[in-house]
Symmetry: C2
Subunit: 372 residues, 2 copies
């Protein structure tokens, strides 16, 4: 497990990039979409099927795992990979974002954040150092610095203060990581600064100075809308280190992924394909459909006959419609599988298009098909 973390760029096409992240647990083809395995499971999926969709890496949530079953327990049981039977790379977030969105009685200081668990009200503290400790106990291949993700909208002053705190936490995270992690693991810094160009630049410069093997763009997909998100990427990614992977956190819809890849992003994660799959929404090359819709009740065609995913090509829409109406487990199981497969197919098509220098044409075809 000592192969060091590395990234190589294979091709660029306009702003879009394709490359390879190498880790001791396997390679990650970029642009990459990471399915979210919140509580040590990609919801409603057998791990073999997650791998079959083409996912090279999945994500675990530090906040959820530190509360249940706890990082110490997972460590005793041999680490998160073994615990959840996923032997490819795992990326963990820092826990900060979900402390803000899920926990109770939060108190933020320079040191870190104290909060009560949303599960049982127990008290916990998350500091930059503790977040790294947890991520190392989990055995995450790619880890995130603790940061503060400010609300949207926010004043420029509020955004600056928050971003500066995140930079101080970035330094402390890197120090802790140096003490606790190995060369096969990587820590990413997180660019903040809301929608303000000067703040994003200041955040980027400070992080480059600290020096990370990868950089995340945080604080987006928080309600600003696609147009504004793309505008922020346009004044952020051109100033990022071209030799390091760039991860846009918590994004997104298929059109978000395509637009962000065009603007230089290499990695994504989002609960959308899994969450919407559990609620009957299927993402397709012709846009999303709601499988519970009455128009599918007698539709004997599969969602995508050309797919090599059984959930996409082997079950009729009428059957899926029936499963959701009857409240059967297999409905969410199949639609999650389909959605993750569609997302991976889309990433593969983007990687091919970039490698072959036809990403612009790919983008046009994508948008034409989506609106069909």
């Amino acid at each position: 497990m000592t192969k060091p973390f590395s990234f190589s760029l294979n091709a660029t096409d306009g702003g879009a990039r394709t490359g390879l992240i190498s880790t001791s647990r396997g390679d990650i083809r970029t642009p990459a979409f990471m399915p979210v395995g919140t509580a040590a499971t990609v919801k409603a999926m057998h791990p073999e099927h997650v791998a079959q969709t083409g996912a090279d890496i999945c994500l675990g949530n530090t906040y959820h795992l530190m509360l249940r079953p706890t990082a110490e327990r997972i460590d005793r049981l041999g680490g998160l990979h073994k615990f959840m039977r996923w032997d490819k790379p795992i990326l963990t977030d820092s826990g900060g974002f979900q402390v803000m969105s899920l926990s109770q009685l939060r108190k933020m200081t320079e040191k870190g954040v104290t909060f009560q668990s949303h599960i049982d009200g127990s008290k916990h503290e998350l500091t930059p150092e503790r977040s790294i400790e947890i991520q190392c106990l989990l055995g995450a291949d790619i880890q995130m610095q603790l940061d503060e993700c400010p609300p949207f909208p926010i004043t420029q002053e509020g955004a600056r203060d928050s971003m500066e705190l995140s930079i101080r936490w970035a330094k402390r995270s890197k120090e802790a990581f140096k003490d606790m992690a190995g060369p096969h693991q990587a820590l990413y810094g997180i660019v903040q600064g809301s929608t303000f160009e000067d703040l994003r630049r200041r955040s980027l410069d400070a992080l480059l100075e600290i020096d990370f093997p990868g950089y995340s763009v945080g604080g987006l997909a928080v309600g600003e809308g696609q147009e504004e998100m793309f505008r922020v990427l346009e004044f952020t990614t051109p100033h990022m280190d071209t030799t390091k992977p760039r991860y846009l956190m918590g994004v997104g819809k298929p059109s978000d992924l395509v637009g962000a890849v065009a603007r230089g992003i290499d990695m994504f994660d989002c609960v959308l394909p899994t969450r919407s799959g559990r609620h009957g929404q299927a993402w397709t090359k012709n846009g999303p459909i709601n499988i519970k819709n009455a128009r599918f009740v007698d539709d004997e065609t599969p969602i995508d006959p050309s797919s090599d995913c059984p959930a996409s090509s082997q079950y009729s829409k009428a059957y899926l419609n029936h499963l959701f109406k009857a409240g059967e487990y297999l409905g969410p199981m199949l639609l999650t599988w389909h959605n993750l497969s569609y997302y991976q197919q889309l990433m593969g098509e983007m990687r091919d298009a970039i490698a072959e220098g036809r990403f612009g044409a790919f983008e046009r075809e994508f948008h034409e098909a989506q609106n069909k």
Copy 2:
């Protein structure tokens, strides 16, 4: 699809029998356990995994399917096998039992039963003829006559009247089946008579006279207890046609299966492995365990390391415990898979023991291990 239904006995050992039911959709090794696919899905299971457990046949419920998505819709979509992606044999019940247990405002006459759907209150009629029509629309390989399953306990007079009605319905079912089904399909008669020996004999004689390719023992596993159920089997199966398969409906726990096989039963169905799997109960050769129990929280061993089912051998009890505590889909998915796999393993062990003339020894070892 014209290979006729047939049954051959390979070996007997005391009362226990092992044999083979041949159908146009494949062979069924007996004694056989049939997982229950109530609403055109074995709950929380991918159909490929159901087949992987070794199940040669699964069951569909006429009552559920006639209400949603309706038999006519399934017929238009190519039949139940295609609809649910299960190409092995399917057995359907008559719908009668679930009309009695689930529907509202039932009215029973000589003609049949009218009732309101528990889903939407819509009115329906189930007669012997309509039940066969539905089972043929579904395309079931093995079908059941409509019968009345009386409550337990019941007076001898009440049991006699009910049993005589079921015999008259058996005749009408067979007539309807002759008109609607093909030689590749089979209709079973159902022996009733509650716990009364003379009534069971009368039911059996009348059904033998009508002549069916298989016989079910109904009206058991309704609260009478294992001892009483075995007593009824002991005065029933010795009088059944040895050349026809015998199906004990709705049974049961592993010890029920072993005891009923010893008493000459060839086929079983029960929701227990699937239902209890969804609720955290795992069946093992050493008896049932509740995976939610705190003693499993740090248990890194799998439920059964010697099993070839991934759910049994590849996931730690600690992980399964975590999944159930966190309310994750994967908990019920894995424990259902394990339970169905354990049930099929048990059936295979019984078939081998009977074929090798050591069923008595198998029974003793089974009971010793269960109490460990």
